[in-house]
């Protein structure tokens, strides 16, 4: 793809992403308006419900304006970086998110490493030993993994490694960098398992297909070493569909983190969202949900662009079409 073609592609993707973000922001705003009951009562929190406070709240949240004007003002504030104040925490939503972002990122990155290393290794192993006991075990593990949500896996891991064996801490996020890593081993495993199962399945199918290709047979016939064939020929081709699934993996990890953080009582963004929903803290729900959705849209956009940049076949196919 030529450079202008690339720019065009990115602009086209952006032209889709921007309205998408607008629709999502409108959805988030409307949703909270749909909450049953008087919004003032929900927004008032623990403050005294006298005429003065109610007037102040109606003013602060623009409740006297028509609905679309309310949305416009809210969107303006959001774009200026102001996500409002949490009712229960009585703090700026953005500050609460900032406090908890580190843990969720740490957890998701650990999960991502386990997903990619574990998934690709198991998938390759199964493909190379197709039909063997190892293969069947990997396939079965895949079915169990896909069927096991992170919160259920988490409970079993907690019980086995935390309570029975006592190898890992069962509580808290840890203090220093390494201590935190130690505390997040079980949560990261719980988070990774079901997504790893998908990556394993994708890798296994792709590697098995690559193994049947002429270029692999020919590479073997040329007397290349087994590891050379495995890494340079099979693995490289098997990784293409894994990259295609990158969006799915990232969304799966971040969404799974919500459940894992609740299961292991970790103070991250996920447990912040769930807490906000349970407490009906409307500004906090709006802020966290919006941030989360924007993250997902941006990641998908980035992956689409990266994908086109790294895979020459897609580049040329798109030019032809």
């Amino acid at each position: 793809m030529t450079r202008t073609g690339m720019v065009h592609f990115i602009l086209r993707r952006l032209a889709v992403a921007v309205p998408l973000l607008l629709i999502i922001s409108f959805g988030v705003f409307t949703l909270v308006k749909l909450a049953p009951g008087d919004p003032v009562r929900a927004l008032i929190g623990s403050r005294p419900a006298n005429a003065e406070t109610i007037a102040a709240i109606r003013e602060e949240f623009h409740l006297n304006d028509p609905f679309l004007v309310q949305y416009g003002k809210w969107l303006g504030q959001v774009l200026a970086g102001d996500l409002g104040r949490s009712i229960t925490g009585n703090r700026a939503v953005i500050a609460m998110i900032r406090d908890r972002l580190g843990l969720t990122l740490y957890l998701s990155l650990m999960g991502a490493v386990i997903v990619l290393v574990g998934g690709v290794t198991l998938g390759m192993l199964a493909a190379f030993k197709a039909g063997s006991r190892v293969d069947r075990a990997v396939v079965m593990l895949g079915v169990v993994g896909i069927s096991s949500p992170a919160f259920v896996t988490g409970i079993f891991l907690l019980y086995l490694f935390g309570v029975v064996l006592g190898w890992f801490p069962t509580f808290g996020p840890g203090r220093s960098f390494f201590d935190r890593g130690w505390h997040l081993v079980l949560p990261a495993l719980a988070l990774a398992l079901s997504i790893m199962a998908i990556v394993t399945k994708i890798t296994r199918t792709a590697a098995a297909e690559a193994l049947g290709k002429d270029y692999v047979t020919f590479a073997r016939a040329r007397g290349l070493s087994r590891s050379r064939v495995a890494f340079a020929y099979v693995l490289r081709n098997a990784l293409v569909p894994v990259v295609t699934a990158a969006g799915l993996i990232v969304v799966g990890l971040v969404a799974g983190a919500i459940y894992v953080e609740v299961t292991f009582a970790l103070p991250g963004i996920g447990s912040l969202i769930v807490g906000a929903v349970q407490e009906r803290d409307l500004p906090l729900i709006q802020g966290t949900t919006l941030l989360f959705s924007v993250f997902v849209v941006v990641i998908n956009l980035l992956i689409d662009v990266i994908y086109v940049v790294i895979d020459p076949r897609i580049r040329f196919a798109r030019v032809e079409s």
């Binding site: 909450a35 919160f151 929903v277 959705s293």
Partner: protein, 281 residues
């Protein structure tokens, strides 16, 4: 219709002969869960609701086979009663989502044009949303618990299901029997529902079973966050929420319902995969 019947390959013939052991076991698990759901009150050793606050949570005993929870309720009976919400919701989600998706997929795949463009833009939009988060926030904010959760999951599941049905319809479109039907002047509606639908039904059926497993896990997840079933309802996900603090005293209060979620979901996934292999070859 003989044109659409594939010639069985030798391997397919062999797999027709007997039921794999794993699938038989999976079917047995599903059967047990169905029996629990239908005849729960007759099977359960005790009431799932009776509270014995003086006992509190206790490990398994002769009287309470899986021990009791924090309120002294019988965990074993609660797991048996919990089969009901573990079956009803997921069945509605899987069947409902595929009923809508089949209609949309048939129209979009066969008619093409504007209908197809509109349906597919909507599907793309749904795919851009983080599904689990949407479910949590909508169910949590709107309220209504279990049935809201079921409704939200129907909507969320419809998008990927529509994509599946549509591609199945697209695979049928170039086949000669469609041309033949059109040449005979048969109406579009009749081609869609009498000719194409029976041919894509096997794929739909296999995916309904797979969707069931996915819906079970999702509904249990919402109940685990305290957003699904009403407090007090015996439900596997809800039990994980209510019993989260008794892991040290009576681990079965958590491990039993958690195990049931996995075992049921694994069984349905295995059956779904197997059906898919059988019905699409």
């Amino acid at each position: 219709m003989s044109l659409t019947v594939p010639i069985p390959t030798p391997s397919a013939v062999r797999s027709h002969r007997r039921l794999p052991v794993v699938i038989a076991l999976a079917a047995l698990v599903v059967l047990v869960v169905v029996i629990w759901a239908v005849f729960g009150s007759a099977i359960a050793p005790g009431s799932p609701f009776t509270q014995r606050l003086s006992i509190g949570d206790k490990p398994p005993s002769a009287e309470f086979w899986a021990g009791t929870d924090l309120l002294g309720r019988d965990v074993f009976s609660r797991v048996i009663y919990g089969a009901e919400t573990a079956l009803v919701g997921p069945i509605i989600v899987a069947a409902g989502a595929f009923a809508i998706a089949t209609l949309l997929g048939l129209l979009s795949g066969y008619l093409g044009g504007l209908v197809d463009a509109a349906v597919m833009r909507w599907v793309d939009f749904m795919f851009a949303l983080p599904g689990p988060l949407v479910a949590i926030v909508v169910v949590g904010v709107v309220g209504g618990g279990y049935w809201t959760a079921v409704a939200v999951l129907v909507v969320l599941f419809t998008a990927p299901d529509t994509r599946i049905v549509r591609s199945a319809v697209l695979a049928q479109r170039p086949l000669p029997y469609i041309d033949a039907a059109r040449a005979l002047g048969i109406s579009k509606a009749r081609i869609l529902f009498v000719h194409i639908l029976p041919n894509i039904l096997p794929i739909v059926l296999a995916y309904v079973v797979l969707d069931f497993a996915f819906a079970l896990v999702n509904l249990a997840g919402l109940s685990f966050l305290g957003l699904g079933v009403e407090p007090g309802t015996p439900d596997w996900g809800r039990m994980l929420f209510e019993n989260r603090n008794i892991l040290f005293v009576n681990p079965l209060g958590l491990l039993f319902p958690a195990g049931m979620i996995i075992v049921t979901a694994v069984s349905m996934n295995l059956i779904g995969d197997w059906l898919f292999e059988k019905l699409t070859r």
